[in-house]
Amino acid sequence: MAKKNVIVIGGGIAGMESASYLSAMGFNVTLLEKSNELGGHLLNWERLFPTMRYGKQVIDFLAKGIDFEQINKVLNVEIKSIEKKNTQFCVELSNGKTFFGDSILITTGYDLFDAHRKEEYGYGIYNNVITSADLEKIFMSGNPITTTDGKTPKRIGIVHCVGSRDEKVGHVYCSKVCCVTGVKQAIEIKEKMPETEVFNFYMDMRMYGMHFEALYKKAQEKYGIQFIRGRLSEAAENIDGTIVLKVEDTLAGRPLKMNVDILVLLVGFVPSKGSKEVGKLMGLNIGINGFYKTKDQHTLTNVSNIDGVFFAGSCTGPKTITNTITDARAAASSVASYLLGFDLHKRDIENHEEFWLYDSK
C-alpha cells in the first residue's frame, strides 16, 4: 500500500508535534507555515509558566521530532485554494506549488487580542502602556525594563482580562492563560527589579492548572506582589508620562486611584486570521466564539465537519502549551485512525449544541 499523505496547515507547536507523530507513524507529512520559521507564538515568549522554563527549550524539543522524521517543511507560503475530490485534498499554494493529501490537519492557532480596541486603557495612545507580548519582547531582548523616557519604573500595574470575558469587545470567553501569565510576568519583573512594586488587577484568579496555585502563592510569599480585586475602568496619562488608574477596590468597597510608571495589559486569545481564511476556503464550521467548531465538545474534539479534516491546538479555543502539545498528539492519532480506515471519529453521540449557552433567555 502506498504511503498516505497528510497536510498539516500551520507550523506552530501544534503543527510541529502532530507532524512528528504522524511522520513517525508512517505517513508522508507536509507541514505548511506562512512565516519563515516554525514555532509560532512560542518564538516570541521567553519563559513559560509555571516552572519558568525557557520557551526555546520546548521549541528545540519539538524540532527534534521534526528533524528526524523527514517531514516536508514548506515555509513562507499562504494557501490559495483547497479542493476536495472524493477523498483527496488538493492544496494550491501562493508559491505556485500544489500538494495532494489524504487528510488535512488544521493547526492555525490564535492571534493575540489587539489592545488598541480597549481604548480606555490607552494602548497606542500613552507611551507607557504596553501589552504582555510587548513585555515578553523586552524580556527576550535582555534589555532593562524602563519607561519610555528611560527611567526605572517604581511601580508597575498589570491588568487581567484585556479582551477576554468582555462583551464590549465581543469576546465573552476566558482566554485561560492570562491569569497565570500575569503572575509569571509579575515575578519576572520582581526578579529583575526587586525594588519595583507590582500590582495585579483581576476579576477572578483562575489558577486551574497543576502548580499554578503554587506560583500564585510564591508571587505573594517570596515576591510581595499585590493583588487587587477590581477591573480597571480606565487609564489616563499624567503630564510626566506616568499612568493613573481608575479602579474599584471591590474588597474594600471603595474606588481606588493609583499612579504607575508602566501599565501591562494581559491580552487574550482571538481566533486567528489564518483560521478564518482557511475556514472560508474549506467551508469549515465556526463556533459561536469564532474558533473552529469541533464535532463534539467532549468527545470529538479534533474532528471537523468535513470528513478527513481534523483540528489541533488553539484554533479550536484558547489552550496552554501543555494542552496544545497533548492535543496535537491526540489529533495525530485521530488522523492516523482515519487514514488506516477506522471510523472511530464517526461514533455517534447525541448532539449538544453550544448555542443555548449564549442565549440570554
Partner: protein, 111 residues
Amino acid sequence: MKNFGYTIQNDRQIDYDKNDTKLYDFVAESEKSIRTCIFCGTCSATCTASKFTDLSLRRIILYLKRGLNESLKKEIESCMLCGKCNLACPRGVNTRNVILNIKRGIEHYEL
C-alpha cells in the same frame, strides 16, 4: 438593677434564611441582565458619583441579592443616571435600567 455595662450585641450575620429578595426579584424581572453581574467593580470604578459619595453599583446589586434593602434607598439617590457604567460593564448589564428599576421597586414596595 445594677448596670454592669454588659449589653446584647446585634447579630451581624446575613441571615440568608430570612433573605427578602423581593426588590431584587422585582428588578430582575424587568432587567434580566442584572443576573449576570460578576461584581468586578468596573461600574463603580468609572462612576462619577462614587468618588464623592457612598454610591457603588456593585455593592448595591450585591445588597439587593442579599435582601439588604435598607441602605440602598439613600445610596442610590447619588446616581445621576449618566450611564458611564453602562458603557463599561463587561457583562453587558444594562446598569442604567437596573437603577431606574430599583427606584421603581422602592416606590412599588414603599420601602
